[in-house]
């Protein structure tokens, strides 16, 4: 059973890497926010799985709860913060003008 959990955790890590593609090359800032939110949800599950593998569930469940709460708040705060930015649609062009790659 431990091998099964290890395999599931590795698959989830691979999915996190796939999500990171959208986080790096996403056309707008909002795509990057979605990507971070999805990665956070997967990380919550990976933390619980790590607790199973090490046999220390009582400790890792608390860390996982804290991570889920923080992920939710961070997503809401980022969405609210970028609501007023008008450059959000054009940010690829904007970054090119400023000179950041």
């Amino acid at each position: 059973m431990e091998n099964f959990f290890l395999a599931i955790a590795l698959i989830l890590c691979f999915l996190v890497l796939l999500c990171l593609y959208r986080g790096i090359f996403g056309p707008t800032i909002l795509d990057r926010i979605i990507s971070i939110s999805v990665i956070g949800t997967k990380t919550t599950i990976i933390l619980v799985l790590i607790g199973f593998i090490y046999g220390r569930m009582d400790m890792f469940v608390d860390i996982s709860i804290a991570y889920a709460l923080l992920n939710f708040i961070a997503t809401l705060a980022a969405a609210k913060f970028f609501r007023t930015r008008k450059s959000i649609v054009l940010d690829a062009k904007f970054f090119k003008e400023v000179g950041i790659k």
């Binding site: 599931i8 608390d62 970028f82």
Partner: protein, 109 residues
């Protein structure tokens, strides 16, 4: 019995996670990507955490075991409420910034 049920739940959850991730990469615009992640992540997390909580009950039905299972289900319920709310917030912020939705004919002007 519990182990089989847990394996089925976790495998289904990981399958829905995979479809959500492929949707995040393949769909053409921001709103369609929200469709994939808002649904796939919610059910994936719910199923995986339910399977893990069931598996933990294998250690015997004592009080600490049941408490930890309840805590895992607590995370699942929280994600069930919070994930659609986050989806809603991001979509609304996209609408207010004027991100144009993709249609079959191309992006509207």
């Amino acid at each position: 019995m519990l182990t089989t049920l847990a394996i089925i739940f976790i495998a289904t959850g990981v399958f829905f996670f995979t479809t959500a991730t492929i949707g995040l990469i393949r769909f053409p615009d921001f709103y369609c990507r929200m469709q994939a992640t808002g649904k796939g992540d919610t059910l994936g997390a719910l199923l995986s955490l339910a399977g893990l909580a069931l598996y933990y009950l294998n250690n015997g039905f004592s009080l600490p075991t049941i408490l930890i299972s309840i805590k895992v289900m607590f995370i699942a319920i929280f994600i069930f409420i919070a994930n659609p709310t986050a989806t809603h917030a991001i979509t609304k912020s996209g609408l207010e910034c004027g991100v144009k939705p993709w249609t079959k004919e191309g992006i509207q002007k």
